[in-house]
Point group: C2
């Protein structure tokens, strides 16, 4: 429920000029503007599911994107029914200056790839709520370090280094009229640690979360209730407690855990953090407008 002091749960991820939004409840576009971000450059909106608090802000958001004179197609991703739900909501946003592309998820796990950038991808994974609901991992791979010694030893011309470093193959004409194919693995070390953000709300704890959040730098997870005595309520409504989210974070060995999607009855999430940190020390309460810059770790 949107509250005067708390926006509905949503995440914006920005990478390399691309903006990816997860969920768009009532007021998400206002929260975004408050943060100083424009809805215009959103390339993808991922929906966890179609309960109103996760999609009620879509028509207004689409109109604001339209008003900003955006013309690039917009990719919408979500469980089956996406197009039906969105087209029904668009009764009040029928005309837009950009195309909407729908991708409906039907498998337990699916990968959303971005042609032209094979080191970036989104993994969708089905979680366990009272309707079909998905979590998402946004993943940026990082190739190995360029090995200058190896490149020199293999007599690879310097003008090819840049392409190989970008992961591309290069074909050279040889003196005997043949050709020589250079591949990135000739000059790159083992892939290095990339970046991964995993987001999941509206679910009971389940194996798919542990598997898909494994090793995430940032794991954003619902914590509907802080109080341990709300465990029954969490079970009944297919949500989770802070303690359950912390256990998942520990099991998935993530870097940091941010809790979100609080019950309206949960006014001061901070009160419950000491108990949560006993389970998983790097746990933090999500807050309106909270953000972080993630960078590759230093070269090893």
């Amino acid at each position: 429920m949107p509250l005067p002091y708390r926006w509905l749960t949503s995440l914006m991820v920005r990478y390399n000029g691309m903006s990816i939004l997860i969920d768009a409840g009532e007021g998400t576009q206002i929260a975004m503007k408050k943060k100083g971000w424009s809805p215009k450059p959103i390339d993808v909106i991922l929906f966890t599911h179609y309960h109103a608090d996760h999609i009620s802000g879509l028509p207004g958001l689409l109109l604001s994107m339209g008003n900003s004179e955006r013309t690039e197609p917009l990719l919408l991703v979500g469980p089956k029914g996406l197009q039906r739900v969105v087209e029904s909501l668009r009764v009040i946003a029928p005309e837009l200056p950009f195309e909407i592309v729908y991708r409906e998820l039907t498998e337990p796990e699916e990968t959303i790839a971005f042609p032209g950038n094979d080191r970036f991808r989104i993994e969708a994974f089905r979680v366990h709520h009272n309707v079909v609901c998905y979590g998402y991992s946004i993943i940026l791979d990082r190739i190995g370090r360029f090995d200058v010694d190896k490149a020199l030893k293999l007599d690879i011309p310097k003008q090819c280094w840049n392409l190989l470093q970008k992961g591309e193959n290069v074909t050279l004409d040889t003196a005997d009229g043949g050709s020589r194919v250079l591949t990135p693995d000739m000059v790159l070390g083992a892939p290095r640690r990339g970046l991964k953000v995993t987001y999941t709300t509206d679910t009971r704890p389940c194996d798919a979360i542990v598997k898909n959040a494994a090793g995430a730098d940032l794991f954003i997870c619902e914590g509907m209730y802080g109080e341990d005595d709300k465990q029954d309520k969490a079970l009944e409504h297919k949500h989770m407690t802070f303690a359950e989210a912390a256990s998942l974070a520990a099991e998935a060995r993530v870097g940091k855990l941010w809790l979100t999607h609080y019950s309206p009855s949960l006014v001061r999430p901070d009160d419950f953090m000491p108990a949560v940190r006993a389970v998983f020390p790097e746990a933090y309460p999500g807050k309106d407008g909270k953000s972080v810059d993630l960078s590759f770790e230093n070269d090893d």
Copy 2:
């Protein structure tokens, strides 16, 4: 467009335990909660038209009303198409514990009556926008003052006074076996000045507004642009300037004018008030959460 520092335009009128909402854009339910008001007791929602900024908050509002365990039917009033638009938006709010009653407006002027309270009514009047759009007057009549001298002179028993004062007829048995009908006009003076609030947004100035706002205690009118040089824009988009709203207020001889429905480009409406007050002195800029208590004027 909803902004971090300004909610979308909406009005809540509360009278005698009844709550009437005009329009419900994205965030209206949050603005309402910020004001300390619950959506639960809303009896009627009047829609001016179905542009998203006037109805995008409806699904969330309906769900919040449902969560509050309201069971009384809700009356929705608006131009033709109401049921189609609302049912389409309800794709994300399909189950509610209360009934929705639709009243679609088709005439240039219509009265919404409330059985059991014939001194209270809402008048809908068609205005002039780029889609069919209505303004509304919320009207509370006031009967004449009870004339004790007249009642004594006509020998009306005291136990009938209260009913007559409430506007009801009373039939008395007479000594000769017949009956005597007492009517309120026997003991009441001329009707006194009641209360009237007139609300209109998304329209060019038009005769229907002057007619329907005539003598309103409070006239809430759109002022999309403060700058006089935006007159062309106002014409093009079928909106009005502050000066035009002030002229309407003067012509309709209203008590006070509140301006609302500002363009996102209009950041400081106060800057334009001196010019507006030269046209209509009792003009004030609308602001988030602004409210007033209106009372009958003192007995004369």
